[in-house]
Symmetry: C2
Subunit: 253 residues, 2 copies
């Protein structure tokens, strides 16, 4: 009996964005573990035990997955988007690092998925066509001062900035503070894209300028993209615009 653990990305929501690798691996699993809404995205079948949990219990969930794999189970931990980006893969390796030494030699694989960032970018054009960064705006696991420092340095580097986890009920003010800070560093005309629930029925994508950007436009399922100084809008006849960042850059800022 040889167990394994796969940490799989389900992509942003639509079934047509789940890779065949993930689908095939789920078909061979005995145990499915994850935040309950993600577990719910995997069809039920006989022989697959489902372990849904709360969003806050990442390390517990990781340890459960490792124990089951060590017992010989075929375990899939599911994340939304890509599991390596502010999701379950890092939590699993933290648990390996701090846990039973035997866990290090388990068969553990990470199966990439379509990340929220790239799904959002695809919907609006090519905003990530030039150098960019991704910042998790949650200060649950790092000090807010560090996030501010990163935002400032990212703007000075003229990166396009993708903000994950922009706000929640427990973190209502951070996104507004980030916009205030960025307005001091960047032209107020740079495009800001609010991409919510991309690829599912509640999808909503809108583009404003940094001057107009307000935290109220975001919710827990929003990915916020902030253009660099070179990011451009292409106006269209239907009133919707494309947003893209050219591949070339001019002089050093």
């Amino acid at each position: 009996m040889s167990g394994w653990l796969a940490i799989a990305g389900l992509g942003p929501g639509a079934a047509e964005l789940v890779t065949p690798e993930v689908t095939a691996t789920l078909a061979r699993a005995t145990d499915l573990i994850g935040y309950a809404p993600y577990v719910a995205r995997v069809p039920e079948r006989a022989g697959l035990i489902r372990h849904g949990s709360d969003n806050r219990e990442e390390l517990d969930r990781a340890a459960l997955a490792l124990r089951l794999a060590a017992e010989g189970k075929r375990v899939v931990v599911v994340s939304s988007g890509d599991p390596g980006v502010f999701a379950m893969a890092a939590a699993v390796f933290e648990a390996v690092d701090g846990g039973d030494p035997a866990w290090r030699d388990l068969d553990i694989r990470v199966l990439p998925g379509i990340s929220a960032m790239f799904a959002a970018a695809a919907r609006i054009g090519a905003p990530l066509g030039h150098d960019f960064c991704a910042i998790n705006l949650s200060d649950n696991l790092k000090p807010w001062e560090l996030i501010e420092r990163r935002l400032r340095l990212a703007a000075q580097a003229d990166f396009v900035i993708a903000l994950y986890n922009p706000l929640s009920k427990a973190r209502p003010w951070q996104l507004g503070r980030a916009f205030e800070l960025l307005r001091k560093e960047l032209p107020e005309t740079v495009p800001v894209v609010f991409a919510s629930a991309v690829s599912d029925a509640k999808e909503a994508v809108e583009t404003v300028t940094l001057r107009e950007a307000r935290a109220e436009r975001a919710n827990m399922r929003t990915l916020v993209l902030i253009g660099s100084s070179r990011t451009k809008l292409i106006e269209r006849g239907n009133g919707r615009s494309f947003v893209y960042t050219p591949r070339s850059a001019g002089v050093v800022p």
Copy 2:
């Protein structure tokens, strides 16, 4: 007759990493356009005209795709990885922006793919589990001074850094220079991952420290990941290590 243009990501190489959305769109296309090795990854079939081209002709390729879509063809432009990341999507929108105004109202969609960065990260663990950035190391379309400035700011922000296009025959010294610069900004013990040809037969992934990192380890198909000060190695019994970046960060650097 209603044409359209899809800019599709084929992922890093393996067929099991191509999304069903891309596969279904390719099945409905009349014209396939791209850099010849990527076009070659799509199976031939009757009714699908293949337009392979050289790697340097991105804007010409984009204009051809737009002209064909305007004529009513169903056109797919293929990129490796994700088309929005240092690939064809930005080139197409540059061509739209500077070209025939009628092109703005074409049906143009971007279909995301598994990016080289996330495929490489998945192979080694979870190096992108905390804030990160992606820098195209090619100075074909931007000044080298700007790249140096970004590397320095990225290190000061303590981002994990993904380097795309680290070197080529025409750009032999840039990666070595980047390592030199980063050794002044970061602890020399941070892990550096060289991930080449991920998911295909020639895959090779190795991890060294920043102190040991040499440009000679990379080739045109290598993605280089440079850890932050917090990125860790987990040693395993088989001699291969996991690399991950914890979700939490301590004090402001």
